[in-house]
């Protein structure tokens, strides 16, 4: 990641996941596996969403097309959704990581650096979208999640999933352009889309923008998230830590001095712990 100090600022990238254009072919899942070198795994049907497979993201699956049976017209229909790392503008995972193994890059991807990881799994706990996964069976386990194909982006390529989508459900470009494009699509076809861009301001904005024909909670998206960045929650406590340290130390020293001065002359034990 040799982002040399060029004067022109890098424009952050983003992706549109237009679920109304998705046909559930899962080419994105395959492209993702092959670029990220994830093995195929044996899966089973589960008591749930029809043909969806696997049930959830895991260490071998960085993205997943969800199959949601929804009654939209006279009969039930499949409405597809997609799970992948949202690459938040201000990621909770990165703010929770005690060793900066999880980082937001200038181009947009939130990337994981195993050489710094201690395996505390705070990123998994912190993520509001439940994205980072772990390979618990490994004796030297790693965090696994969508990388936004950060390595491809650096050399000017699109993410693997965006190159293979046969219906144009995945668009990729500068975030500003993608936001404009998403708004434009909704404005031009208000009957097709619900008037909401998932990721525009969820947890302060993300680098993946989802569009849908039905409300997002119906297709398994986590909704009701705050519009403010998650790291704000801990930041307001942590940023005062150095001041609190100095304040408390002084306070305790002062208190101790004061109380000893008041108690002077009284019988005193020899100081020992």
């Amino acid at each position: 990641m040799s982002t040399t100090s060029t004067t022109t600022k890098v424009k952050p990238k983003a992706m549109i996941q237009d679920n109304t254009r998705c046909i559930g072919c899962r080419a994105c899942m395959i492209a993702c596996k092959s670029w990220n070198d994830r093995p195929a795994d044996h899966t089973d049907f589960f008591a749930g969403n029809g043909y969806q497979n696997p049930r959830d993201l895991d260490a071998n699956n960085y993205t997943l097309i969800t199959f949601n049976e929804i009654v939209t017209g006279p009969k039930p229909d499949w409405v597809f959704g997609r799970q992948l790392c949202m690459h938040c503008e201000q990621p909770a995972c990165a703010s929770a990581c005690p060793t900066t193994a999880m980082k937001k890059t200038e181009l947009g991807p939130v990337v994981f650096d195993v050489s710094r990881c201690i395996g505390c799994r705070a990123c998994m706990q912190a993520c509001p979208f439940l994205i980072p996964k772990y390979d618990y069976e490994n004796a030297a386990p790693m965090i696994h999640k969508c990388t936004f194909c950060s390595d491809r982006l650096e050399v000017g390529l699109k993410p693997a999933c965006a190159t293979v989508c046969p219906t144009g459900a995945i668009s990729f470009g500068d975030r500003d352009d993608m936001v404009a494009e998403a708004k434009d699509r909704i404005a031009k076809a208000p009957g097709t889309y619900i008037p909401q861009i998932y990721g525009l301001d969820e947890v302060g904005g993300t680098s993946v923008l989802h569009l849908s024909s039905v409300p997002f909670e119906q297709i398994g998206y986590i909704t009701g998230l705050p519009k403010t960045p998650m790291p704000d929650l801990t930041h307001r406590w942590l940023r005062v830590t150095p001041h609190v340290f100095i304040f408390l130390y002084t306070l305790f020293a002062g208190l101790m001095g004061l109380i000893h001065w008041r108690n002077r002359g009284q019988e005193h034990h020899e100081e020992k712990p």
């Binding site: 049930r55 959830d56 993201l57 895991d58 909770a92 703010s95 929770a96 990581c97 005690p98 060793t99 900066t100 193994a101 710094r116 990881c117 201690i118 395996g119 505390c120 799994r121 705070a122 998994m124 706990q125 912190a126 509001p128 439940l130 996964k133 772990y134 390979d135 618990y136 069976e137 490994n138 004796a139 030297a140 386990p141 790693m142 986590i222 009701g224 705050p226 998650m230 790291p231 929650l233 801990t234 930041h235 406590w237 942590l238 830590t241 609190v244 340290f245 408390l248 130390y249 305790f252 208190l255 101790m256 109380i259 000893h260 008041r262 108690n263 034990h269 100081e271 020992k272 712990p273």
Partner: protein, 393 residues
């Protein structure tokens, strides 16, 4: 210093538990966490974090609470509790670090916390503070073996730096006990509203303060029984009075916080989580508060032991509720700790108790204890004391 101690069957039981845990830990390190533990992608933190780290550190709060009481607030009559408290804190923190080595996926990289700075992360602060505080505890406790060994020069150094180091320890404790709560404020979408609060840092700090005197009382009673000295019931009653205040204030704070956040509805609903909440409040706070307010209980060994054990249990359940039980992610995901997860924590706990027991027999940790005169407690009388007189093991 008497190096020759006879291992009782308690010691042997503890050793057996440690051996069992060591076998489980061996499997975990060769075949991975997944081979023995039930923690999963939905519940990345389970019993190991809830009990092994969060509760261990909370009850390790005995170190800074008793230190602050004696050294800062000048309550010198509680001096006899200081050495056991510092040693217990040292062992709790060591236990938490041992747990961390099992719990972390890549424990051989743990030094990264000290190298790769991440000031936005609560865990970064917890890691640094706990590391520094363990050093502080080691320095504080070093006086005891140094005195015994008669090493004058290092002893003089340790005594010279004692006060600033002690103040540092109390300050660091305040910081990281609260930072453990800060860590959990990051996930309001996962933790049930019964427990998630903006004030989690303060709730964690105050509950650690509450766990401190309770553990000190328990230790004193246990040591009196097994090492065979008369417990200082006068001091215990005084500590119990302080403990009652701490429990009462914490109860008011926690319930006040619940009301202020408008989450009372959750507590009144018929759900397993509400049940867990009321067990925490009822058995961990209300019952011990009532018990500790009664002078007869404060004067009785059995009563004190019961009340303080309940407080410690309450703190454990609070940590578990915040970090494990109160978490909900996808509806099909569940987590129940495996026997091996519990087994390893038992092993670490057993090791801490074993080391304490051995050190308590070879070092003068309870040296100042035998009371010069019969205990006089203003309000209470040692009525409910166990019928059996104290005696040597």
């Amino acid at each position: 210093m008497n190096w020759r101690i006879r291992l009782t069957w308690w010691d042997k039981l503890l050793i057996a538990i440690m051996v069992m845990a060591a076998v489980m830990a061996f499997v975990r390190f060769t075949l991975g966490i997944g081979s023995i533990a039930n923690i999963n992608n939905a519940y990345p933190w389970g019993w190991w974090v809830g009990y092994g780290i969060m509760t261990m550190i909370a009850i390790g709060g005995v170190g800074f609470t008793i230190t602050a009481l004696v050294e800062i607030f000048g309550a010198h009559r509680y001096h006899p509790f200081l050495r056991p408290a510092v040693l217990m804190a040292f062992l709790c923190y060591s236990g938490a670090i041992a747990m961390l080595m099992v719990e972390l996926g890549r424990p051989w990289m743990v030094w990264m916390i000290l190298v790769s700075w991440a000031p936005t992360a609560a865990l970064f602060e917890v890691g640094w503070c706990a590391f520094l505080y363990l050093t502080v505890l080691a320095i504080e406790f070093a006086q005891v073996p140094l005195e015994e060994a008669g090493w004058k020069r290092p002893l003089r150094v340790v005594k010279l730096i004692y006060i600033p180091v002690m103040l540092l320890g109390v300050t660091l404790s305040n910081l990281h006990q609260s930072s453990l709560g800060t860590l959990m404020t990051l996930i309001p979408h996962k933790i049930n509203a019964l427990w998630w609060s903006d004030n989690l840092p303060l709730l964690f700090l105050f509950s650690a303060m509450m766990a401190g005197p309770a553990l000190a009382i328990l230790e004193h009673l246990a040591a009196a029984r097994w090492l065979g000295f008369a417990p200082r019931m006068d001091l215990l009653a005084g500590l119990a009075r302080i403990e009652a205040w701490l429990v009462g204030l914490f109860l008011v704070f926690q319930m006040g916080d619940l009301f202020y956040r408008g989450a009372v509805g959750g507590a009144l609903s018929a759900s397993w989580l509400a049940l867990s909440f009321w067990i925490e409040i009822g058995f961990g706070l209300l019952l011990p508060l009532v018990l500790l307010m009664m002078p007869e209980i404060r004067g009785s060994r059995g009563g004190l032991a019961t009340a303080c054990a309940l407080v410690v249990f309450g703190v454990l359940l609070h940590r578990l509720n915040v970090a494990v039980i109160g978490l909900r992610v996808r509806h099909w995901e569940t987590y129940v700790p495996s026997l091996s997860e519990v087994g390893i924590t038992l092993g670490i706990t057993a090791a801490a108790i074993f080391v304490f027991g051995v050190l308590a027999r070879i070092l003068p940790i309870h040296e100042e204890l035998p009371a010069p005169q019969p205990s006089v407690e203003p309000a209470g009388r040692p009525a409910g004391a166990w019928p059996r007189a104290h005696g040597a093991v």
